[in-house]
């Protein structure tokens, strides 16, 4: 277990020390902070009701999920590949570190490093939102739940694929396919074009947003997804992540035998 946490800690520190991560997050945090806070000075400040607090927390997390997973998917695509490119993998194989520990440690390390700055920023912006008198203190609780129900599954899903896929295809090819996938698979209407959007494989968080948080405030259209649909969606995403990690493990085993 100490080895597992050691790999997580090492990967977490390495990922957090990348300037690319902070530049990407910095740009998006500024963009989102402006869009969240901008309407406040001009509009009459109205305190959200209990139901609206819940809905607005979901809406914020869902909106953050539009672009943040794209950055995370692109940036985490080289985390496993770099161990092969820099021949670190050979050194690691000579240590008593098991393959499962290595793979899971790497995965959770990248996931934690991707999520930690976002969680801090989400708390910060929610604190400002509360300080400006737009919501009660319970908003902090609601946004934290929204973060775990909407953002964490999306990040976990894209990171699993971003670690595994570049091992079998060129990095830039994966990044192009991934960026295209995020738009095609989550935001194109199924009525307009065949897409994964609307199926249980949707990773944008729409299911959890509607099922657990009640969708947009004063939305005209009825909700499409219930809480059970949302739970099923999370289960399917979890199974996909597990499947990717199992396949990745088998692939790495095969690579070690071949070496």
């Amino acid at each position: 277990m100490s080895r597992f946490f050691g790999v997580i800690r090492h990967e977490f520190n390495m990922s957090l020390h990348r300037p690319g991560l902070w530049i990407a997050y910095g740009l998006l945090f500024i963009f989102y902070s402006v869009t969240v806070m901008y309407p406040v000075p001009e509009e009459e400040v109205t305190l959200l009701t209990n139901q609206q607090t819940w809905q607005y927390a979901g809406q914020m997390a869902f909106t953050f999920n539009l672009f943040l997973p794209v950055v995370v998917g692109i940036l985490s695509a080289d985390r496993l590949l770099r161990d092969f490119r820099q021949s670190v993998r050979e050194l690691q194989e000579s240590t008593p570190l098991s393959l499962v520990t290595y793979t899971l440690g790497k995965y959770f390390g990248v996931l934690a490093a991707s999520l930690a700055p976002v969680l801090v920023w989400v708390w910060l912006i929610s604190g400002l939102f509360i300080a400006f008198g737009n919501a009660s203190i319970s908003f902090l609780y609601a946004i934290t739940l929204a973060f775990f129900a909407i953002m964490v599954p999306a990040f976990a899903f894209v990171i699993a694929f971003s670690l595994a896929c570049p091992l079998v295809m060129p990095l830039r090819v994966y990044q192009i396919l991934f960026t295209g996938y995020w738009f095609w698979g989550n935001y194109i209407s199924p009525e307009f074009f065949p897409t994964l959007n609307g199926t249980l494989l949707t990773a944008s968080g729409l299911y959890a947003y509607q099922g657990f948080f009640g969708g947009f405030i004063n939305a005209a259209d009825p909700l499409k997804y219930s809480a059970s649909d949302a739970s099923l969606n999370l289960l399917v995403l979890g199974l996909c992540i597990a499947a990717v990690m199992v396949v990745l493990n088998f692939y790495l085993q095969w690579q070690s035998r071949r070496a």
């Binding site: 672009f67 950055v71 960026t179 995020w182």
Partner: protein, 220 residues
């Protein structure tokens, strides 16, 4: 010296820069043929030439200069920065241009009507402007951050933001940075200004890339 450099470029050319755009081209051809009755052919054609091609060009450009195993040796030779920049980006633009033109020919062959995009010049500017802009952005990002990853996420981020909030991009001053205006809003009254602004921005990006390329120690 120039002939040697060209030979080097071809020898070290990453084949995925060729097979992937071709595979994507073939995929969209098959998609057009399969979904002809479900989805308007024009929508698929403009999605490919005006949206997919800039994305591919941008990502390829982010890796064009720095993703070279012999970059230190290359910098040790007396090749000018402008030449490196031109060789690497022009090749990417050439491949994307061939794909775009081949797809337009295919689309015309199956009867796609491109008249909503305006004249022939507007049709070609609708893919050329965003492709050049994304190539310039990808190259600039990678060189500025001295990492291919930074060029990659800049391209990915700009692409996904502009695709998702495309209606918002067509208004206010954002309209000058809206790279998909020519293909998604061809009737926009500020299209010409948008295209001039994007060409200008691309030129600025490439100029700064050229300046930064002189500081070779940053990339070794």
């Amino acid at each position: 010296m120039k002939r040697f450099s060209l030979k080097y470029t071809l020898l070290t050319y990453r084949l995925d820069q060729l097979w992937f755009p071709l595979a994507f081209w073939a995929f969209f051809v098959i998609l057009t043929l399969l979904l002809g009755e479900q989805v308007d052919d024009f929508d698929i054609a403009r999605a490919y030439i005006g949206v997919a091609i800039p994305l591919i060009g941008g990502f390829m450009a982010a890796y064009a200069i720095l993703d070279d195993p012999a970059i230190e040796l290359r910098f040790a030779t007396p090749i000018r920065a402008a030449q490196i920049l031109f060789e690497r980006t022009a090749l990417i633009l050439l491949v994307q241009a061939v794909c775009a033109l081949a797809f337009i020919l295919f689309a015309l062959f199956i009867g796609v009507d491109f008249s909503p995009l305006g004249s022939a010049l507007n049709l070609h500017l609708s893919w050329l402007v965003p492709t050049v802009a994304m190539i310039a952005l990808g190259t600039f990002g990678a060189i500025l951050g001295a990492q291919t990853m930074i060029g990659s996420f800049l391209v990915g981020l700009v692409w996904i933001i502009e695709v998702i909030i495309r209606d918002g991009m067509a208004v206010n001053n954002w309209k000058y940075a809206y790279i998909f205006m020519g293909i998604l809003s061809p009737e926009h009254p500020d299209l010409v200004s948008n295209q001039i602004a994007l060409f200008g921005a691309s030129a600025v990006f490439l100029f700064f890339t050229w300046l930064l390329l002189h500081r070779q120690e940053r990339y070794i």
